[in-house]
């Protein structure tokens, strides 16, 4: 039995899926022990019930207004105060922009090891074993902490969420925040509203084959049918068909959706590094020799401008009939 602290995260007023995935991972580690979630910012209290339905026994609501926008100092001061009070025996945090910035800093302050970007966790006898991809997903490693408590960041979209019934105790916690060294002057939203690329269950991605920014339209329509997000290869971004915020690959985002549909993407190593661990991969490409077909579960050799709209129509029918 272990007391596990799970750091949760919300974006634009919505609790991120990876928060619940982390709670599921925490259930395995806790093995009957207490699970404590922590949520930050003035909206935090709204997330308490859903956290309770996913295994949290207690939630710390750190409602300070200074936490509505992430800064390293405000979050690390607050989280450290929560950790001091809770004294957890394991800590999990989402491997998101915030988790990547915050977790190593907390680990250094507490003199802890940290296992980043984990996709699975198992308890073997007394050890908590984390699995993580290395070399851009070409291989995997299992790691454990040998000194101090287990501490890991969890990659979105990899641990299936489990709901459980239970009651939740809410603890209102006011953090003492001072001497902030960074000031956020402005946040410019470049990502289209809707589904976050790194957490999307379905990703429709375009390469040089989409030929222009207008060429992404059929992909966006297909994404709407499936409730997915649109991504791109580096080639499409370099050619200025779309913004770099959509780039999936070695440089760019790493995604592991349930379904990845690659349209007009040849499948360079640069791109594969960002998506090859997707659960089901579909490739649509004019060139039958394109390397993308070697990792695809299903391939259609054809013109994406013909195939993608047909596929959107066909999937609409399939989804209606279900």
């Amino acid at each position: 039995m272990r007391k596990v602290l799970v750091v949760t995260e919300a974006k634009a007023g919505n609790l991120r899926g990876v928060s619940l995935e982390s709670l599921t991972a925490a259930q395995r580690i806790a093995d009957g022990g207490e699970i404590i979630a922590v949520a930050f910012g003035s909206d935090a209290v709204h997330y308490a019930n859903v956290l309770g339905k996913h295994g949290a026994n207690k939630v710390y609501i750190v409602g300070n207004q200074e936490l509505d926008v992430y800064t390293t100092d405000a979050y690390s001061q607050s989280l450290r105060q929560v950790i001091d009070e809770v004294v957890p025996e394991a800590i999990l945090m989402p491997h998101t922009s915030i988790g990547k910035d915050l977790a190593p800093r907390i680990a250094a302050r507490l003199g802890l090891g940290l296992i980043s970007d984990v996709i699975d966790v198992q308890v073997e006898e007394d050890d908590v074993i984390f699995t993580r991809p290395v070399f851009s997903g070409k291989a995997f490693e299992k790691k454990k902490v040998v000194s101090g408590i287990p501490f890991a960041t969890v990659r979105p979209n990899n641990i299936p969420v489990e709901e459980i019934s239970g009651t939740i105790e809410i603890v209102h916690f006011y953090a003492e925040i001072k001497d902030l060294r960074t000031i956020v002057k402005e946040v410019i939203r470049k990502t289209a509203g809707g589904v976050d690329l790194s957490e999307a269950k379905v990703v429709i991605s375009g390469g040089r084959g989409v030929k222009s920014s207008d060429g992404f339209k059929p992909l966006q329509e297909l994404a709407e049918v499936l409730g997915g997000a649109v991504g791109a290869s580096r080639g499409a971004c370099d050619a200025e068909f779309c913004d770099y915020s959509l780039q999936i690959g070695q440089t760019g985002k790493i995604v592991t959706p349930d379904l990845y549909i690659a349209c007009g993407i040849s499948g360079a190593i640069q791109h594969l590094a960002g998506m090859s661990n997707s659960k089901v991969i579909v490739a649509i490409n004019k060139d039958p020799e394109a390397p993308i077909f070697q990792i695809a579960d299903y391939g259609i050799v054809g013109d994406l401008f013909e195939v993608v709209p047909l596929l959107a129509e066909e999937l609409k029918k399939v989804l209606v009939n279900s």
Binding site: K190, G252, V307
Partner: protein
């Protein structure tokens, strides 16, 4: 301005991965400067052009990492330091303890690093070091301007752009888009050969009491090989309707 850059030498991402004795084999592998660290080096050189001063590149690595330092010197860096990690088992915790012990006694205004290395990809070194040195950090930056003692920085937050102000000294980590790293020039390569590399042995640092690892790797393995995919056949309409059915009933992906 004293500019420090953290560098790691990594596998060329185009290389295939092979295992030997349970760990990743380095035999016949081409090594490069971690691409994100290349952005950090380039940004250091751009800062020096504007604000004068020196660029010092630091690495913790085995002898082969000296090639990476030579490349950085050829790009234009002034000084290079290598901490010999031969026969050492290091993790992020202990690597940062080494870096801290070297950097805390040096003067610096800014430390630049890549936001992540393309080999083991933990992305911990920058933020950990900033905490150990008790300085602020700004991660995944795409634009940097320094006026006097203040930096105005743009950072990439999962595709959105954040504008941050911070007072020096600061540690920043580079994201793609920060700049276009230069290639070493021929005169640069010649000059680099004459520039000294400072070599530090772990024993000289006297940090035995903090040099423990907190995490270990118990196993390294390949993903289970996927069965060969299926290229659908027939006219396009037939392929598309087959695909829709397969995604529903066989793959259960929708």
């Amino acid at each position: 301005m004293n500019i420090l850059v953290l560098m790691k030498q990594t596998f060329d991402p185009e290389e295939k991965i092979a295992f030997q004795y349970g760990t990743v084999s380095e035999e016949g592998v081409n090594f490069i400067i971690n691409p994100y660290d290349e952005y950090a080096i380039e940004e250091g050189l751009l800062l020096r052009a504007l604000h004068c001063g020196e660029v010092t590149v630091i690495t913790v690595g085995t002898e082969r990492a000296e090639n990476g330092l030579r490349t950085a010197l050829a790009m234009g860096a002034d000084n290079a330091i290598i901490v010999n990690s031969e026969d050492l088992n290091l993790d992020e915790y202990s690597t940062v303890k080494i870096l801290e012990s070297i950097i805390k006694n040096r003067e610096f205004d800014i430390i630049l690093a890549g936001n992540v290395a393309v080999d083991y990809g933990s992305g911990q070194i920058g933020p950990r070091l900033a905490e150990e040195l008790n300085i602020p950090q700004v991660t995944t930056i795409t634009k940097l301007a320094i006026v006097g003692n203040e930096a105005v920085i743009e950072r990439d937050v999962e595709g959105d752009k954040e504008v941050v102000m911070v007072t020096l000294p600061v540690l920043v980590t580079a994201q793609q888009g920060l700049n276009e790293p230069r290639y070493p020039s021929l005169p640069g390569i010649t000059k680099a050969k004459k520039k000294p590399i400072e070599r530090i042995e772990i024993d000289d640092l006297h940090i035995e009491d903090v040099l423990e690892v907190k995490t270990i790797t118990t196993e390294t393995f390949f993903a289970p090989k996927k069965g060969a995919g299926r290229i659908l056949e027939g006219d396009i309409e037939a392929q598309v309707s087959e695909l829709a059915i397969l995604l529903r009933s066989e793959a259960k992906a929708i």
